[in-house]
């Protein structure tokens, strides 16, 4: 299983390359038309490029290590069983692991619900997977600072848990309604 996922990586999407070409030529045109802005644009872009290249390769290495060493099945195995506060904590923790994009998590969550996992835990898991992943927190720390990153993280954890309980109540209410 663990060997399968890395093999599925594709080259950069054509759309991204196309977008880069469009924005690149737009930038070139604007800089030719407005030479007085050249310094500001290239200076800013250069600063951000440096800051990006200081962390992005390392973040990718960390993601690569997780992709190879932590199999998907580990997440599935641990998430289906526990419930209550421990279940929520575990859903949060497993969601933060740097493993794959969100659309990988949907079928996983669906399979676990059909095996009896709580809906609330799956909402927490999906939300954690989407927005409090470890590599994201690293980038947020680098670009927005500790205060911003830490307060957004704590607020997100709080709201995500409440949201999980709300969605669960609604899904169960609808489920009984329709039978």
């Amino acid at each position: 299983m663990s060997g399968e996922r890395p093999g599925r990586q594709r080259p950069p999407p054509l759309g991204d390359l196309l977008g880069l070409a469009v924005v690149g030529s737009l930038a070139l045109m604007l800089l030719l038309l407005y030479p007085d802005r050249r310094g500001a644009v290239t200076g800013t872009a250069g600063d951000y490029l440096v800051e990006m290249m200081l962390v992005l390769p390392a973040v990718m290495v960390i993601m690569g290590l997780f992709a190879v060493w932590v199999p998907d099945t580990l997440v599935a195995r641990h998430l289906g069983q526990t419930s209550g506060a421990r279940g929520i904590a575990l859903a949060l923790a497993l969601g933060t692991l740097p493993t794959g994009p969100l659309y990988v998590a949907f079928p996983l969550a669906a399979a676990l619900i059909s095996k009896g996992a709580r809906v609330s835990n799956m909402v927490v898991f999906l939300s954690a997977w989407a927005c409090i992943k470890l590599p994201q927190e690293m980038m947020e720390l680098q670009f927005l600072g500790l205060e911003f990153m830490a307060s957004r993280l704590l607020l997100t954890i709080g709201t995500v848990v409440v949201m999980g309980l709300l969605v669960e109540a609604a899904v169960e209410f609808r489920g009984q309604d329709m039978k």
Binding site: A40, T44, A58, L65, R152, T156
Partner: protein, 160 residues
């Protein structure tokens, strides 16, 4: 190089060292995968960096703060949240973009709303979420995420 970058690179190096000690083949495989991840995200990264350069070079901060600054009020926060919800860029790249907006006069509240909806809500992946988890689940999760993002953003503006 700042402290954060040092720590992140330190973690990556320690991970590679540990991986090499445990299993040479898997370590090499991890690095290959990391290389592919990097190549895959590179075009979008360069695009965002160019866009940031153009944004800060051409759009005066007064214009940005007019739409996303303190004085833009609820409208600015809603605008940032809505743009974040429909935009489809890797979450990793939303942070430099957010930093550039903050630099040029956007409020903490608007920037927090932008990042939070961008990461939590997936318009592109919504059909898949509905198919896998049902309409009730998907609609509620995404809808509540928008409300949650606004709540988080307002509290962030209040705290920071």
């Amino acid at each position: 190089m700042n402290l954060t970058a040092l720590i992140i690179n330190g973690i990556a190096l320690a991970g590679v060292a540990l991986s090499l000690a445990r299993d040479r083949k898997k370590a090499w495989q991890s690095l290959t995968v990391a290389g592919r991840f990097f190549l895959r995200i590179l075009p979008m990264t360069l695009l965002i960096i160019l866009a940031i350069g153009l944004l800060l070079g051409f759009v005066p901060p007064s214009r940005i703060s007019q739409f996303l600054g303190e004085q833009s009020g609820a409208g600015g926060v809603l605008l940032a949240g809505a743009v974040g919800a429909v935009m489809h860029i890797p979450a990793l790249l939303s942070f430099p973009l957010a930093a550039s907006l903050l630099d040029s006069g956007a409020s903490v509240t608007a920037v927090a709303a932008f990042i939070t909806t961008l990461t939590m809500i997936g318009m592109i992946t919504l059909p898949l979420e509905i198919r896998e988890l049902g309409l009730t689940f998907a609609a509620l999760r995404n809808g509540l995420s928008f409300v949650a993002a606004l709540l988080i953003a307002l509290l962030m503006g209040w705290i920071l």
